[in-house]
Symmetry: C2
Subunit: 507 residues, 2 copies
Amino acid sequence: MLNAVGRDIPDEVNGRKLKPFKGAFSFKPKKRLYSPPLKAVFPREKKLLSLKDVIKKLVNDGMAISFHHHLRNGDAVVNKVVDEIAKLGIKNIKLAPTALFPVHEKLIEHIKKGVVTSIEGSLNGPLGEFASHGGLPEPVVLRSHGGRARAVRSGDLHVDVAFIAASMADDYGNANGMFGKSAFGAMGFAFADSMHADNVVILTDNLQPYPVTPISISQTFVDYVIAIDTIGDPSGIQTGTMRITRSPARLNIAKNVVKFLSIAGILKDGFSFQAGAGGTSLAVTKFLHEYMKKNGIIGDFVMGGITGYVVDMLEQGTTKKILDGQDFDLRAVQSIGRNPNHVEVSHIDFGDPHTGGCVVNRQTACFLGATEFDLDFNVNVNTHSDGLLLHGIGGHQDAAAGSFVTIVVAPLLRGRIPVIRKEVTTVSTPGETIDVIVTDRGIAINPRRDDLIEAVKGKMEIVDIEDLYKKAIRMVGIPKEPKFSDDIIAIVEYRDGTVLDVVRGIK
Amino acid sequence: MLNAVGRDIPDEVNGRKLKPFKGAFSFKPKKRLYSPPLKAVFPREKKLLSLKDVIKKLVNDGMAISFHHHLRNGDAVVNKVVDEIAKLGIKNIKLAPTALFPVHEKLIEHIKKGVVTSIEGSLNGPLGEFASHGGLPEPVVLRSHGGRARAVRSGDLHVDVAFIAASMADDYGNANGMFGKSAFGAMGFAFADSMHADNVVILTDNLQPYPVTPISISQTFVDYVIAIDTIGDPSGIQTGTMRITRSPARLNIAKNVVKFLSIAGILKDGFSFQAGAGGTSLAVTKFLHEYMKKNGIIGDFVMGGITGYVVDMLEQGTTKKILDGQDFDLRAVQSIGRNPNHVEVSHIDFGDPHTGGCVVNRQTACFLGATEFDLDFNVNVNTHSDGLLLHGIGGHQDAAAGSFVTIVVAPLLRGRIPVIRKEVTTVSTPGETIDVIVTDRGIAINPRRDDLIEAVKGKMEIVDIEDLYKKAIRMVGIPKEPKFSDDIIAIVEYRDGTVLDVVRGIK
């Protein structure tokens, strides 16, 4: 069956019935919130236990366990917990992390031994490559940040035990990520799990007297608290891709984004946007700040993925508030617990489409990356041109769906490989939610947005996306397609739970 | 069937099956959280509507609607909403307020006309008296603060539409009670309803630009926002009973509480307590503060019901933190949005027994009032000696169950009426959770607490509760019992949902 972005979606994969994607704003849920069991903890019962004892009490063969990825490539908790589960001889675990990173490569051994048999979560790097080569018995389920929150809240992703790393906690489970030696800032990913997992465990390397505040995760959701040596290394939060670009071409892309917003009349008081952490997105944030400061423009809020560049905006008055689901550098971490206008929000708040309305719905603009984009404005952020699954979806779908103007920033070529395609290898975000693509060799506007086309007509050069494609092909020729097997190694869900695409294994 | 406090509880009242109370720490829930329906609000959909339009969209005959009582006797929202419901010809509404006050007396007209046919919530004053005289077709259900949160979370109290007054909100539903002309402080009562009502509506007299922070209630829970002239008068928060006592006898009770805690070795670093707002409780807070300051004792937290007396403790360093579910005076309201160690918590956090553990479980002490107490240490706070239902349970049951030492402060007599009884008229809080009763004519310790008896033996005069009773009867004689009808006009639930007692109508 072809879905609304023209992809052939099987009715069923591995016993799981798939609902094909029917358009970004078509699916209204009929279900109710998933209900975890009620608990009773009586006065003076202790909740502080060892990791081993908690696993013995809560984890059985075949269960789903979850983790947040706020420490990104510095995380120490996933490996520690899965190692202990393996030691206890437990098998057939479904991992439901928000994302895994190269630091989690050693999970491959646990997969090979049958400790872990299934993953629903973003894969960045080696584990994705392993999946692409057919390493996992079941297809990975990829979801956006908002889509994962939705899946947990609806029960589509049932979590038996959520293991939540906290850089500060008390022995009753009140916890945050804002203070302590391993502080990582906002804990947006952990909220849905804390509220809807059947059992919730806090792991901390910084046990403080009761009651720990700010209370990001409330004691009422928490079954047990585990004190460990380290939850990880916060220096692993800021990875290589999170530095501002030095490429003149990409700096030029960033400048053109600001120019476009200004000419289109969008960049005015009340402006809000979602900041990314890619090199070009960081440059956009920096240039936006400079432009707004120079022109006395005051924005209402920035939603993030927050970096020091956004903190500059708050501190220097070009935005009134920061809504923060996760922090991408240590300056952001140092701001969130201290500046009352730098406010932690959950990824339910950020982007769950099946709520009373999430933050992305109120964003003026967002700036998103792409490994590929195509003539229908569809974007791929998951697979590389060699077909390997190497990245998660992040907040891409959510920001694109919600923002008044969604701008993709990407070079036309990466080396000899065109970023523009006739059809993207994998549809991560549907083209109907992408409004503008700013490349180093021209800006294309989605024909659906005649309002934007009208707004900049005669004031800025806009190119047809077909012409961008021809330009790329003239320069480097038509790229070789990767050779895929028939095996489905990943399912790409849209944020509403329908299926956008599937990823096949590499031959 | 006699329950664990010796009350005869019918199997069924008005079609509702009753579970008899079996002891304060005996009931473990087997249910799951109540699940409201998932929603979908797409980008640029508006949520700001008129009260009339919201009622037309959401409220039908026979539905349950809820309100918080943070504005207490200053509230303007309950009357406004029910008036509009009446105007639209809707009937048979169940009111599920956290509490009603004298200002809501005009609801009696709506009850007489069949607009409102049932109330589950605390009744203070005229509406209670009206219920005692058989004015309501169905018995009122009385619950403690934590018990009501539990009931909403478990679905025992199903709320179709929660109407939540906010002193500050944006047009997408982010809301708090901390700022604005009608600021009332913490919004603890509203959290359970915001998370578990099928529909949630914010009413505000202070619409501010998006996004409003602090975010007490998140936009994701909110269906509609209504802008109205006034949500009420915050000067109605602080009612007459909330001033420190001037009675020398009651001041002496307060002094004896501090003396008891000190002698028993309980009043030391790390001390925590729940503050009440009655005149004697306020005096206890003041004297505690003075004692702790003088002796260099630093407490961990105060849970409240917060007043300026507790804010003094925070500001002058005798407590490290305030956990705040509701504010009882304007000094507390002015502290909560501004002092980062004065932290808003929900009444789920405060006292819901069917969670991973609530705050009361961690309190060292609490100081509670009584209209009557008896030889089994049972306490009545609901009915007066004339049998009239005039008060809610408040946090009484919760604080008593959780705290390490629960102290009731009460005079032995009120005028010519003994406060001590052989058996209280109504059991509001079971005696097994009451440890010490400090009266103006002696201190009694519950025989269950031999640790406390041992701790003060020889250092402080302790009297047998039987002797206190004899003393009272010697002075004023055995009081006349009120004449009750056979009609059950109220059900007194214990916080776990079992039934402690029923209240019968007055002949």
